[in-house]
Subunit: 458 residues, 2 copies
Amino acid sequence: MNPALRLWQRFLKTPSRVPVAGFALLIVLGTLALSLPAATLAEGRLALEDAVFTATSAVCVTGLVVRDTALDFTLYGQLVILALIQVGGIGIMSISTLFLLLVRRRTGMTERVVLRDFYTHTGEYSSKAILIHVTKFTFAAETLGALLLYGRFMNGYPPHQALYLSVFHSVSAFCNAGFSLFSDSFINYVDDPVVNLTLAGLIIAGGLGFLVVAELQAGARRKPHRWRRLSLHTKLVLTSTAVLIAAATTLIFSMERGNTLLPLEPADRLMASFFQAVSCRTAGFNTLDIGGMTNETLFSLMILMFIGAAPGSCGGGIKVTTAAVLVMLGWFSLRGRTSPRVFRRTIPEESVYRALSLFIVGIVVVAAGTVALQITELAGVPHSESHGRFLELAFEAVSAFGTVGLSTGLTASLSAAGKGVITILMFVGRLGPLAIALAISRSRPAYYRYAEETIMIG
Amino acid sequence: MNPALRLWQRFLKTPSRVPVAGFALLIVLGTLALSLPAATLAEGRLALEDAVFTATSAVCVTGLVVRDTALDFTLYGQLVILALIQVGGIGIMSISTLFLLLVRRRTGMTERVVLRDFYTHTGEYSSKAILIHVTKFTFAAETLGALLLYGRFMNGYPPHQALYLSVFHSVSAFCNAGFSLFSDSFINYVDDPVVNLTLAGLIIAGGLGFLVVAELQAGARRKPHRWRRLSLHTKLVLTSTAVLIAAATTLIFSMERGNTLLPLEPADRLMASFFQAVSCRTAGFNTLDIGGMTNETLFSLMILMFIGAAPGSCGGGIKVTTAAVLVMLGWFSLRGRTSPRVFRRTIPEESVYRALSLFIVGIVVVAAGTVALQITELAGVPHSESHGRFLELAFEAVSAFGTVGLSTGLTASLSAAGKGVITILMFVGRLGPLAIALAISRSRPAYYRYAEETIMIG
Ligand SMILES: [K+]
Ligand SMILES: [K+]
């Protein structure tokens, strides 16, 4: 056999490497397609770092842009981006759903009913069945979203353009990609309830994770459809998503009331806060000017971007279940208990360790990315001469890691090295959490065990 | 019995409340003593928030100042501050040593030999014996430090003033307090090896924790004095302290080479980097201009300040053992193992949980403090008009939580509300880690246990 092929096959033997290879391949293809002269309107091709950046941002459904999607790309270029988003979104949802099912050893009765369709006749999960279900769900949601948006865009655009805008933004919203054909995202639609609620609905649907949606569907068919019958995972995802949206809405509303929300009508202020709260954890659309927000809002958004959406979804970040476990752990330990319990269930140690490792690795990656960006962009100037760039670059790093795509506006003006840092952060943020979850699931008890010896903490 | 007294006795029944009450009492006494007209040089008394701030900063051995210790206080005022530092330093070292011994259930053979002096005849730890040993050790180290410093300050100051400067700075260094009688800390001594090395030695000695020092002393008396005989705790403290100092020296040297280190001789650049590396985790002296450093250095210093020193020492932060456990946990989980092992020992689950809770609570406290300071100091102005205050205020919050005392220079100009936030952060940063360690140690298995149900992470 060809030695290169053998090396490749050996590389793919570790399951976590398959998505890494798949996404890398998709990025290479996207880079090539976007480098063609036909992709861009301006003369000449994209610089290589811009093509890699845009392809990575689309495949990882991040939405950070170094070129204006609406003005700098041709229709062909925009369709390439749309295709990358769609494949990247369905890809991450299917792969993470499959892998998370593999990781999850104990499966409850409820789930076995819900997930029956995903089993092969040998009792293993069928990746094909999962892919088909995920694709069906995605297209159904996107079609519904596009229809609702079309009703709105019909007023103001010729029919074919209204259709294009509706499809593009519906896909971008459901995949939590955040790419927009409007140069200033949805700022012009800040007071439009149809656009706000449709996009928010798509973002939430794409961010709950496929398994949660599948379980809710199955539950809706059963009578009586009781909360208690849901799996712990679904309960936790729904509760923490609701709490995070409510908390973020309150924070944004109170911190921006006298700032970016000031020009709006009172009711629109609440709607804009709600939309930004839904969008900031991972979608990345904005109806408010992010660069004009206060420090406290930007910092709060960074925390929300870092948390992200649910596992098995299009969303990024360390995931809402991770955040929930961490909060419970902190809370319970203050009350003198070690094993976190919620909804009359104990969270197993393995889930706790996985959450903690993900949190630690995430913090380290974001901190390293932030330091790297300070170095590439500011070249060692003293703080007093950096004009507040610290927060803007840290914001950019978290946005890339959480595959969010919000920015205070400096992405396009980053140096080539800085774009490289962001590109790496997007890739690591997309696949890192999955890889960590898999690494821990492979853990086996060691053959020998050293004696325990306490150390002092605190 | 008097009902107030009964309430008080009931409050003190939970052991973690005793140090809280003790430190609060000390702060009240310090505030009263510093509010007397005799304490300050300027006409009139200190504003109440400044008196509370200064007393808290001294008792918690933080070193953040809203008034210039050298120029605004009389000799009496300075002696009050010195006394508060000394009592606060010995207090936190004794209390945390005692409490950490109580928490530590399994005691190894080595330790039992080392700690024999601390047992009462009933087999319990004697708080009196610990207090005596800690005090002896403190005075011995401070006397030695003062003698070395005196040799340096004799050139340039009249004898009685040289003595005063030596004693004050020796106490302040050993207690990791960071208060200085020079308005710009030790910037004028940046190239002085005697001052740099003496202070660094005192800071390290005061930051290793009393038990480590006791074990090293006992080990030095035994022959052969082998590394392998040391307890896991001591090995971990020594290793992680060395790694952190080496890493911090390298970071500061490389990030400031073209900036604040530029005017210095090559050898002095290394010494200044080393001194700042030793001092930044918790002591808070500086020989370089912190406000003139680059963003990347300031951010790195924030991480180091957050980590802090060893448990059972005068230092603050989440502690080096906590950081070591977290790094090991992240590293081992990436390699597919859950229980961290080091030096041929397994870290028990209880230590891991304690480290994690401390980390999570610390992050939450610092984040909340940072947001609070943005709100109190900037009153909702947009980011673009905040002139880089985000980083400076976040730096201040971490410095207070880690009881470090480094500042980019804005402490004195904080609003009264901002000073209140910092005061709370200093107090919480001083006693919070101990309280969390104790809360977890009291944890008992629950009477009933819910069934486990896995959730998905990643
Ligand atoms: K996104
Ligand atoms: K200090």
